[in-house]
């Protein structure tokens, strides 16, 4: 998707659990520029939380001294694109990783990608085993007057 970028942000932080809330709050505050609803901001925060938690738990096996990069950009047509990148162990079978699994890992519900797919228009995962994973999340927000007419 070619997007004319109006604004962007980029943050980088170690894979500490406390940075999950830092990342979602940062992207949530940035996305607020789209003048979307609070509910939409909550959904953006949720998908960032899921993507960053995945980096810590799966890519880095809970090691806290690794690097996570989060970038977000806003396009001229109210598009939001979020990129979450790690340099962790990578995903061998991406389609399997994206399936909802209720019990594979007791620590979470296995719904991370389900939330990402449900609350965003498009989710793209690129991964190289041993090198890392990048997750790109895209969503175009409606204009509120259009929503009201719909």
């Amino acid at each position: 998707m070619a997007m004319n970028i109006r604004n962007y942000m980029r943050i980088e932080f170690p894979s500490l659990p406390e940075n999950v809330s830092f990342a979602r709050a940062s992207v949530g505050a940035f996305a607020a520029q789209l003048d979307c609803t609070l509910e939409e901001i909550e959904e953006v925060k949720l998908v960032v939380s899921e993507a960053v938690s995945n980096c810590i738990i799966h890519a880095y096996d809970n090691r806290s001294n690794e690097k996570i990069m989060v970038m977000a950009s806003i396009g001229l047509e109210r598009e939001l694109e979020i990129l979450v990148e790690d340099t962790g162990k990578g995903i061998a079978d991406i389609s399997q990783a994206m399936e909802p699994t209720y019990s594979s890992d007791e620590t979470r519900m296995g719904m991370g990608f389900t939330f990402m797919k449900s609350f965003m228009d498009n989710v793209e995962v690129r991964s190289i085993v041993g090198e890392g994973t990048s997750v790109t999340l895209r969503r175009t927000f409606l204009y509120h007057d259009k929503e009201a007419l719909a």
């Binding site: 659990p17 939380s49 899921e50 620590t107 519900m109 296995g110 719904m111 991370g112």
Partner: protein
Amino acid sequence: MRIECKQVRSTLVVKLSGEFDMMIADKLRREIDSRLESKQITNLIINLEKVTFIDSSGLGVIIGRYKKISSQKGHMYIVGASASVEKILTFSGINKLIPIYKNEQDIINI
């Protein structure tokens, strides 16, 4: 995130406040499990009244405790979820397994 626990007869009431993500998930899991093992507890109430955010890590703790409680033939309830938290609970299907009530009094009245 704050965790407050109280025991009322055979029921453990866990009151949470703040954001329920991986930062608190492990601590809460250990806290609840140690109480479930050491005390005569069969039922669990999770009070989410003051929880402003929940993600898969939080849902994982809830579903894991549900499995434990239900395997011991106990009952589990969720109370006080805000609209945004309840949306996620419903989306995950947890509401089909664990009844959600407005407040603790509603459970006592059933």
